[in-house]
Symmetry: C2
Subunit: 229 residues, 2 copies
Amino acid sequence: MTKADVASTKDPVYREAVIDLLGALAYGELVAFERLASDAALAPTLPDKSALSAMATAEYRHFLALRDRLVEMGVDSYLAMEPFREPLDEFHSKTKPNDWLEGLVKAYVGDGIGIDFYREIAAYVDPSTRALVTSVCDDMGQSDFIVDRVRAAIDEDPRVAGRLALWGRRLVGEAVSQAQRVAAERDALSALLVGGVGRPSADLAEIGRMFGRLTENHTRRMAELGLAA
Amino acid sequence: MTKADVASTKDPVYREAVIDLLGALAYGELVAFERLASDAALAPTLPDKSALSAMATAEYRHFLALRDRLVEMGVDSYLAMEPFREPLDEFHSKTKPNDWLEGLVKAYVGDGIGIDFYREIAAYVDPSTRALVTSVCDDMGQSDFIVDRVRAAIDEDPRVAGRLALWGRRLVGEAVSQAQRVAAERDALSALLVGGVGRPSADLAEIGRMFGRLTENHTRRMAELGLAA
């Protein structure tokens, strides 16, 4: 972290917002690691198990990087994660895959929205945080194998597509509902995105456009899997 | 892999034995990853969850190194793992921890016996395989935090020690029983250790001493945890 960044994170409201952001992302990665590793147990073959496990270990690397950044900021990293345990745990407990294919779709959709969201927020944070967020992004996207697996399953039994499309909608619905809860409870974090903390931030129209982009990319990814969004 | 190693692995019986060895270790690491990641869900705190997850991701790294070595040898790596799925899966299904402390003891005992076993077999393999086995060893041993956790739990409730000591004995018993099964079914692998494949190998007395050392180290590790072996 450079001295300039220390200065920028001295603004207490901004600092609080960044701590929230990193805490939310860190816990999100830790629990994603745990869920993906657990879903890997559903894999029908060893190569599949290995591929989903690889995604899980990538999440753990991101968790470490985010946690270390919090420590570098002089923060109790685990305390920073606490406010996000309940919403993220609830998201995962409500979206526990019933089988391997649901696990794959969840991994693919989650990985994709994750990358998109990291890239969007990179615009609103200080250079050090941005560098971290960007390096996490670069380490994501190990989910290409999922496209083949889901498409092959649909080829074999086209009825699978309807069920998985519904599943994809449920994933997004639960994610949005938990995100709204976080936004309502964490003022500084919301202010970072919608402005009001005395630094470049998004106005409401830009927030609207951001959600538009996230939705559009999600729709594209579902189509890649052969699914209606 | 150097040319000399390729030559040494041209001996078909030795080659078969090394493939078995790497296949067994690789599947062992993959399933250890999965089990440790799953046991991390039992963690009472986030730092604990993170520490056990770190051990899990190390196992996955070892899995990758072993798998890549099989591929380098021109082997279908996943096929090489197949014969060891049943015994290793059975070991884990019979030793599913009932709580966080049992998970910790299993991780500590497993990590320790793993390192010991890797070091012992390093003596009987060609230089490339030895280098791989040694590098895996060097990446192990991230289990020091477990000593504190188990000792603290015993301080708080001394009755825990008896239960966990029994648990440790059960782990070893199940491991020995699956190892015997593998030894009975995989001739080349057994021959690698007890000799008969025309290269330096251990005689039965040395095998006896090896098990003596493994048992001694296990007893020492249980004592470190405050447990009778």
